[in-house]
Symmetry: C2
Subunit: 330 residues, 2 copies
Amino acid sequence: MQDTIEKNSMATIFDVAQEAGVSVVTVSRLMNNPKIVSVRTAEKVQAAIESLHYQPSQIARSLMGKRTNTIGVIVPNITDPFFNRWYRYLEEFASARSINLLMCNTDDDLKKEINYVKLLHSQRVDGIIIAPYSRKPVEYLLKIHMKFILFDRIMEDINANFVTTDHYQGGVEAIEYLTALGHTKIVLLKGGGVILADTDRHKAYVDVLRAHRIPYDPRLVADCGFQEEEAYRVVYELMSGPDAPTAIFAISAGMAQGAIRAIQELNLSIPGDVSVICFDELPGQRIFRPAITHVTQPVKELAERVMEGLLAKINGTEVEGGVSMYLPPQ
Amino acid sequence: MQDTIEKNSMATIFDVAQEAGVSVVTVSRLMNNPKIVSVRTAEKVQAAIESLHYQPSQIARSLMGKRTNTIGVIVPNITDPFFNRWYRYLEEFASARSINLLMCNTDDDLKKEINYVKLLHSQRVDGIIIAPYSRKPVEYLLKIHMKFILFDRIMEDINANFVTTDHYQGGVEAIEYLTALGHTKIVLLKGGGVILADTDRHKAYVDVLRAHRIPYDPRLVADCGFQEEEAYRVVYELMSGPDAPTAIFAISAGMAQGAIRAIQELNLSIPGDVSVICFDELPGQRIFRPAITHVTQPVKELAERVMEGLLAKINGTEVEGGVSMYLPPQ
DNA sequence: TCCTCTGTGTTGAACGATTGAAAAAAGAAA
DNA sequence: TTTCTTTTTTCAATCGTTCAACACAGAGGA
């Protein structure tokens, strides 16, 4: 009696019930099914809720076997312009549905991937959207029967749904664009060969060159592991050497940025001395001159499809194995 | 006996206990204090844990009054380069401490702010890092005794800890830089006047001009609400009119980008016709020519201080009201 | 008067873990 | 054998909420 102020802990449903002079179940009913409570009681309870600033504990709710209303998102790097813009939409869709996102950055590091997958497991998230680097985390998810969707990645031998841009088609259009301009010495700046986006675009490179009877020169194809610095180094070397290439296809905006720095440093001009094309928008694309031609991925749509696909899985309303591929190039 | 495969639900501590032929308490003890369990038993239990892919439910743990090991982060827009880079570091620090971050984008919208604060409340996060637009969410946090730190914002009349760059000092250095170059007609592209970063930099603008006996021309100060398009419009108009200004100070990189687009469109040169300086790095800063002078915020340090400050609050190890201000300009 | 129906409200178990105390085995030392 | 440790188990309570089942009152019908 002497002290009605709760010092530390937050108000519980019990406090509300006491304050309103009803039982906890009555309060619970009001929260979940307001219709079945009389108006007079509802008012009393509502007043108590407001005066105590009560918010039901999602934790306790989740424990009752319900949803956690949380989805885990595992990406290599949220700073990357592609993932960044994509995630922003994802968050928007989630927020509109009162779903929380737990975002995890892996830096394409196997250990971090596993850690995060276990973390999300112990958080009992309802589902996971993952752009994995290795197979391990996906295998783990399968073992524990976690619902998930692969994003921007495919694992052919694993029965898992995925959502991704059609990287092959995008690669084809990019290289066709360059060959149409008459280029034959085209540099390919690629990742490590593990990721779908990488292998597919590489394949496109090979196929288009062959179709145009342009010999494949392995010296022009460089594994940069999606690293800007590495791309810078490679391009600097190639462009300052003899028989310099005339075009560059960068598989990511980051590597394109490295390439451009090298070109600038050598006082070469774009597109006078060398043409550059890349996937995704360059940071600062809108103000960079000359404008760099690029293949755009439908970020918003990708976010939408992934979210819808996962929710369908969670709610058990999915129809087929949800496979989607898009691509509007520019 | 006929069916040991658990179809839907995940393994619980009970399943592990059964599988290992011990009691749940023993399993729990092993997880939390491995020393007090004999090696032989530990091995049995460990085997069961692995075969069932058991991960203790963080939900149940949290319910026992422990931590949730989750921190809420409320920012206006994660796509903004400043918040983006900052958040990346924050996530790194959190991950290193096995802490989850729940990230919330408000778009500086009051309704979203309130919703998210309530959401984090019901999630029983251990603390919140917030860059609020309005007072409401902060007042709410105070009412429910939630631990939080203001980031990049200050509310003078509210007793709350904060971490921010010294925006006034940064503004002073930026304007001093321009006046030292002899500029007197300096445009100020600012936000809406609500946010600290905005008012402080505006104040710096006024003070430095006065110190140099340069008259204050209100036509040169434009509220762009941090919108790139608005900045574009304003600069286009000012630069194409008579008596065009010779320098532009943009309070954010986004507005600087808008300004630069306008300048490019008018076929004016930087810094020949007009100088540009801004806060934070331009997207594509590394490849944009000419390089735009800018005031950098110590993103990594900001993330570190905020995280440490909040953890100190949560752990009850804080010393004083944690007020921090930094700024290395460039 | 008795019975049933309706609209309320209450009771107690359940969710998955942790924790303290106490009891029960098992092994070692006396 | 007794006593003392060490290890493990049982028992019970707790966290905040939901939910099935039940109780109780008043209304209406037989």
